[in-house]
């Protein structure tokens, strides 16, 4: 950095200066222009190494396709299943279960977390349940949900909802509670109403915590979909994993797992994009 004093120069001096001059732009290599930034290039290299190791292990070290198959076999299985339409079907079933469950969890979890954060009374009544449920391995209740709600989509949505609700609620509450008292005092000093304090102070301040809750919920939601499908279903990627493992179809099993991982990456990427959209003032930190 430049000398800090140049920033606090007297207003007289600062007056004529205006906008700090833009940084000198270095020429960028061609791969930047097609969207391949330095960090993406590194990610790509890392993934390619992983693929190579997978291929090597499966072709050279392991023999017998009963336990492990090369990535190229998985790709072929994906191609075949796409042609028959089975893959789209399973993916669509799982996606719906995931999406509706998560949506419900957001719609319930965010307001609930806010209420707990703002009102002591609500907190006193609700907190014991939240703590209790959060420390329960709710996924273990999946068979129960299936008994109650059948092997269709509804029971899976319920499991996803149960798994995603608590991280969202707890993080929302934490975000509200973490609001700087000084900022609330500033708003009070300016005569803001309670609603305005909520809208203009608590909510923006809690935003990054809420988004962190979403991120955790995406991960838990995917686990919930798969496990719930294991316990009883007629379709979905979890179902595909289950039947493939029973028939030792490693290529299909790994295909489903890869798709789930991919969904998780995309989901978390979308949350990150949402965060940058909602909170453009945040910057990457330097350690």
């Amino acid at each position: 950095m430049t000398d800090a004093r140049t920033d606090v120069a007297s207003p007289r001096l600062a007056g004529g200066r205006g906008e700090p001059s833009p940084p000198v732009r270095a020429r960028k290599p061609w791969w930047h222009r097609i969207g391949l930034t330095t960090s993406r290039r590194r990610a790509l290299i890392s993934l390619l190494i992983g693929v190579a190791i997978w291929e090597f292990v499966a072709r050279v070290l392991v023999d017998g396709s009963l336990f492990f198959v090369p990535l190229t076999d998985v790709v072929r299985a994906g191609y075949d299943l796409t042609l028959t339409g089975e893959l789209q079907h399973h993916a669509w079933v799982s996606f719906q279960e995931f999406f509706y469950g998560l949506l419900l969890a957001v719609l319930v979890g965010v307001p609930l977390g806010m209420a707990v954060g703002i009102s002591t009374r609500v907190r006193d009544y609700v907190q014991p349940w939240i703590s209790g449920f959060y420390s329960t391995p709710l996924i273990a209740l999946a068979p129960l949900f299936i008994l109650w709600l059948g092997i269709g989509i509804v029971s899976k949505v319920a499991v996803v909802f149960a798994m995603a609700l608590f991280p969202i609620t707890i993080n929302t509450t934490a975000g509200i509670k973490n609001t700087d008292q000084d900022l609330i005092d500033v708003a009070r000093a300016f005569g803001y109403s309670r609603t305005d304090i909520f809208r203009k102070v608590l909510l923006p301040s809690a935003l990054s915590f809420i988004v962190t809750g979403f991120r955790l919920a995406v991960g838990r939601g995917i686990v919930a979909v798969v496990v719930a499908e294991f316990f009883g279903s007629r379709g979905g990627l979890g179902y595909l994993i289950l039947v493939s493992s029973q028939s030792f179809a490693m290529d299909r099993l790994l295909l489903a797992v890869l798709l789930l991982a991919f969904t998780g990456v995309i989901g978390i990427g979308l949350v990150g994009r949402l965060e940058r959209r909602l909170a453009p003032w945040r910057e990457d930190m330097t350690v």
Binding site: R5, D7, P11, E19, D182, L183, G191, W281
Partner: protein
């Protein structure tokens, strides 16, 4: 005097609840501030200066005694008072302009006018060109200026300032002191200004109030009879230095006065200072 005081504090006492029990922060504080008067408050750290200022703003519930502003008893913040917080409590998700606009948003009026007011104030404190920066992109001194501009934007009658220039370098501080004096005289405001810097208090104020260590009580109220408009050269005159010395004496008297209850050291302390 026929004109009623702008701010009137009577037998004010404030107790705070802490984990360890109750804490008497301010005790038996009484003083008046006249309309258009500039009063500085000095006192040791933790003596309750911020608490007193927040009480005048109506941010802290009172324990006993009374504070009135413009003849009305204070029980909540109001548009007649503006507060400059000790920490430059800027909203990190708002740009400089949006931070300055903060107080205006609680009022009626169209957005364009509010933006224009905010822009003018940004220029007034020397931040033109930085209106769209976020607080984390500013230096400490620039953040302090936003902090001051934000309070000025709502054009309050009484300006309550809690060490507003504390994190500035000497040069910027002097420029802003001059600016503040100019705004104060042009816009005819009443200012209550908390500071740790004795020379800052003497340079700016019509009167300096010295608070004792906690519980804060008014130890002295020293009128500063230096001519206005004051310029920076004033700070080097013997009159000014004598006044600063006088305030120092009050503060030290007050410290050694406490010690004297244990050991009779009052004389010694005075001699040492002289």
């Amino acid at each position: 005097m026929t004109t009623p005081p702008m701010v009137s504090i009577r037998d004010f006492r404030l107790v705070r609840q802490t984990r360890g029990g109750t804490l008497l922060v301010l005790d038996d504080v009484s003083f008046d501030v006249a309309d258009r008067e500039f009063v500085a408050i000095v006192g040791p750290s933790g003596c309750g200066k911020t608490t007193l200022l927040k009480s005048i703003d109506g941010l802290i519930p009172r324990t006993s005694g009374e504070i009135a502003v413009n003849g009305t008893v204070v029980d909540r913040p109001g548009p007649d008072r503006g507060f400059v917080f000790q920490m430059d409590s800027l909203f990190p998700w708002r740009t400089v302009l949006a931070n300055i606009r903060l107080g205006l948003e609680a009022r009626s009026g169209d957005r364009a006018t509010k933006n224009r007011t905010a822009r003018d104030l940004a220029a007034l404190v020397g931040l033109q060109g930085f209106e769209d920066h976020y607080p984390h992109q500013l230096s400490g001194g620039m953040r302090q200026r936003v902090n001051v501009a934000r309070a000025l934007a709502v054009d309050p009658q009484v300006l309550l300032m809690d060490e507003p220039f504390s994190s500035l370098d000497a040069q910027t501080r002097e420029v802003l002191q001059e600016e503040l004096l100019r705004i104060w005289s042009e816009r005819s405001k009443t200012v209550i200004f908390v500071t740790h810097q004795i020379d800052e208090a003497a340079y700016l104020a019509d009167r300096v109030i010295v608070l004792s260590a906690r519980p804060g009580r008014v130890r002295a109220s020293i009128p500063i009879e230096l001519p206005r408009p004051r310029t920076l050269e004033l700070k080097r005159t013997p009159e000014f230095i004598a006044i600063v010395d006088r305030i120092w004496q009050e503060i030290e008297l007050n410290d050694s006065g406490r010690a004297a209850r244990d050991a009779d050291e009052t004389q010694e302390a005075r001699v040492n200072h002289a």
